[in-house]
């Protein structure tokens, strides 16, 4: 095992170097080397342990500040343990994580995603099973949230927040201007509202799809559930259903319909998700569909927050899924790399016990972020009313997020197909067919 990893490391390094030569110096190869350098130069003073940690907490979201403050607090209380942070923008985080994983160069502490994103790390034996440590968290964290990070009976990570990816934020004034005092409850009404917004010269939806995940994750996770039912994605993975099934094609056709209605801002494919949020916050668009985390930025930390409402995707005609459900995923699981020296492993566990505990969940709740705990850790009255509203909205069960079920390659194929639809290329049938083909190619 050890030897194989060594060869793999050398191999990946050379692949990375080829890339660096073939293209202009690419961030990944450099960073891979830096990561390695940092983890091997850990002998600071006597008894000081330096741990490396990679995380995606770089965007202006409320939770990112809480996480970073928590790391700082740990370092202040543990002068003998130093955390070397490597913050990677969320859109590139998974690519870097898996590239480092392929070279067996993971940071000592990593932030990981559940489900299909965790599988390669587990199959490569790259993460430390936390089974004998779980007494620390079993009482605190909900079982269904832990389940996504559990493979073959081993627990590999503990999630730090509960996210829903498909919250529709809408501008109440703009909607009442076109005659909707409450958010449309059915698909027909929703489309009608979009047409009326368009007629009133307003941009109905701000979308930042340059990074391609928003349509896949925030839109299609729920649309798939609404049209094809809760178990559809799992059935596709198990071979019991196909993407080419009529229900799924209908779900994809929604993106096509929205495009044909000109529902999105014209620069949707050149903007990232944060820029699209800005459009919405600056009242340049009537809706924005994104994760629950952004609730803090759009409503809680925004003096004009009360202008904006939240809603879920409406029910669809003939749909097989419950329209009250949101697409949820327990996120930011903290995991420890396997094969660390005893000293480092103890330090990493020490960090994890400190980092992932009730205080973190409490701080997150106060900042307006949902957490995967069994009880309300923040206590009565400590919860912001905007967060309470969000918790109520998402309390009717959850469905799974597209790329937490479907492996990376078909997911990427799907993202490209969806983006093609937004520039009026291809048909929903083509997209479904290609996605199915990419999934079949894996078997």
């Amino acid at each position: 095992m050890k030897k194989r990893n060594g060869i793999k490391g050398a191999a990946l390094l050379s692949v990375a170097t080829t890339l660096a030569l073939a293209t202009a110096a690419c961030g990944n190869s450099n960073d891979a080397n830096n990561g390695k350098g940092a983890s091997s130069s850990d002998s600071g003073g006597k008894g000081t342990v330096t741990l490396t940690m990679m995380h995606p907490w770089t965007s202006p979201n409320a939770d990112n500040e809480v996480y970073k403050a928590r790391i700082a607090a740990f370092e202040a209380e543990h002068p003998n343990i130093k955390i070397n942070q490597d913050g990677v923008a969320a859109a590139q985080y998974k690519t870097k994580l898996f590239t480092l994983a392929a070279g067996n160069n993971l940071a000592d502490i990593d932030v990981v995603w559940p489900g299909a994103d965790l599988d390669p790390l587990v199959s490569g034996d790259l993460l430390l099973p936390l089974n004998d440590q779980m007494a620390n968290w079993n009482e605190l964290v909900r079982e269904d949230a832990l389940a996504g990070f559990n493979k073959n009976g081993n627990q590999y990570a503990v999630p730090t927040k509960q996210n829903f990816v498909d919250i529709i934020y809408y501008n109440k004034e703009m909607f009442s201007k076109v005659g909707y005092d409450t958010f449309p409850a059915t698909y027909e009404e929703w489309i009608d509202a979009i047409k009326k917004l368009k007629a009133a010269k307003l941009t109905p939806i701000s979308l930042g799809n340059k990074e391609q995940w928003p349509l896949q994750s925030s839109y299609m996770s729920t649309l798939t559930q609404r049209f094809a039912g809760d178990d559809f994605l799992q059935n596709v993975v198990d071979g019991k259903a196909k993407f080419t099934d009529e229900d799924f094609v209908k779900a994809v056709a929604v993106i096509d319909e929205l495009t044909k209605l000109d529902a999105f801002n014209s620069d949707a494919n050149n903007m990232d998700s944060v820029q699209a949020q800005d459009y919405f916050i600056q009242e340049k668009a009537a809706m924005h569909i994104t994760s629950a985390t952004v609730n803090a930025r759009i409503r809680i930390d925004n003096p004009n927050g009360s202008k904006f409402g939240i809603a879920l995707f409406p029910s669809v005609p003939g749909g097989k899924g419950d329209p009250k459900k949101a697409a949820g995923v327990p996120q930011f699981g903290i995991a420890i790399k396997s094969g660390l020296s005893k000293e480092k492993q103890d330090a990493a566990l020490e960090f994890m016990k400190y980092f992932v505990n009730e205080d973190l969940y409490k701080d997150l709740s106060k900042a307006g972020i949902m957490v995967p705990t069994k009880t309300n850790v923040a206590g009565e009255g400590e919860i912001n009313p905007f967060l309470e509203e969000l918790m109520k909205l998402t309390s009717n069960g959850s469905t799974r997020v597209f790329d937490s079920v479907i492996p990376t390659q078909p997911s990427k194929e799907f993202e490209n197909g969806l983006q093609a639809l937004t520039i009026k290329q291809g048909t929903p049938q083509d997209v479904a067919k290609k996605t199915q083909a990419a999934l079949d190619a894996l078997k």
């Binding site: 793999k8 191999a11 990946l12 050379s14 692949v15 170097t17 080829t18 890339l19 030569l21 073939a22 293209t23 202009a24 690419c26 990944n28 690519t95 898996f98 590239t99 994983a101 392929a102 070279g103 390669p120 790390l121 199959s123 490569g124 790259l126 340059k210 990074e211 391609q212 801002n265 014209s266 620069d267 949707a268 494919n269 050149n270 990376t408 390659q409 990427k412 490209n416 197909g417 983006q419 093609a420 937004t422 520039i423 290329q425 291809g426």
Partner: protein, 291 residues
């Protein structure tokens, strides 16, 4: 000649460290990539040998051929944009205008700024809602010329090309400027005495005198166009829907984003092959003209 003979060993040993490093980080990885290109490998689990399957799949992938086409667009527009523009700027600056050092610095600036900055700047210029380009056209009453520069697939690749030309033409300006300043003064004086002035001198005297430099610049411009990655990655990410994807982006997406390292290695081999073919063709054409 004798003195050179005596130092040949010394030259060899002097170059040895650089040679070893070059072999280690450039030559060997090419062969390692070649080896991986025959496997199906996600980087984490075991490799499985698939023979030429990766190559067959690439050749059957319309997206790959689209990326080849986009590379050719970058190459051709780069050639007809960068070289004449670089030469023009160099000729202007060679005339000892007032403030020519200032303009030389300004012209070279885009080469020095990191590609990330260049991409962000052009991203803002091209933005369809608040971008400079559309605002400028609107200011002159040319509203009908306004476009979604990066989102409209019929022109997005040319928008990328324009940024690419802007980024690189300063480099050719400096190369040509150095060549122009190496033209002996007597040649120019003789030309002047014979009555060759202005454009005629440029085409009859100056350009033939720096012909070899131009050929080097052409080869460099072509090989450079196959390496373009960061500009496209940040400006459009290859999107929308692969329409601005070049071969390096295609390779990166498969190897690193979708974790098909074997497939990505095969794509990188093809990049190498294509650039070798084009560069050797250009070299041959240049040599034939010489003889």
């Amino acid at each position: 000649m004798n003195t050179l003979k005596g130092t040949r060993a010394a030259i060899f040993f002097g170059m040895l460290p650089a040679l070893l490093i070059y072999i280690g980080i450039a030559i060997i990885p090419i062969f390692v990539s070649l080896y991986y290109s025959f496997f199906n490998w996600d980087g984490i689990s075991a490799k499985s040998a698939v023979g030429f399957d990766n190559y067959v799949r690439i050749f059957n992938d319309s997206v790959f051929w689209l990326s080849v086409k986009n590379n050719i667009i970058i190459m051709v527009t780069g050639l007809i944009g960068q070289i004449p523009l670089g030469l023009l700027l160099a000729l202007l600056l060679n005339r000892n205008l007032r403030g020519s050092t200032f303009f030389r610095t300004v012209g070279f600036m885009p080469v020095v700024i990191s590609s990330v900055m260049v991409s962000l700047i052009w991203g803002m210029i091209y933005n369809s809602e608040y971008g400079f380009m559309n605002a400028l056209l609107g200011f002159f009453g040319l509203d009908s010329w306004q476009r979604n520069w990066l989102g409209d697939t019929s022109i997005s690749m040319y928008s990328v090309s324009l940024a690419y030309i802007w980024q690189n033409c300063g480099l050719y300006m400096v190369i040509f400027l150095a060549a122009l300043q190496n033209i002996p003064g007597e040649v120019n004086e003789a030309a002047e005495l014979d009555g060759a002035t202005g454009l005629r001198r440029v085409f009859r005297i100056t350009i033939p005198m720096i012909r070899s430099t131009i050929l080097v610049a052409v080869v460099y411009s072509i090989s450079n166009s196959f390496r373009v990655f960061d500009l496209v990655q940040i400006l459009t990410g290859g999107g929308p829907a692969h329409m601005t994807e070049v071969m390096t982006i295609y390779m990166y997406n498969h190897a690193f984003v979708s974790r098909q390292f074997g497939y990505g290695s095969a794509a990188s081999m093809l990049i190498l092959l294509f650039s070798l073919i084009v560069v050797s063709l250009v070299n041959r054409l240049g040599r034939e003209k010489d003889s």
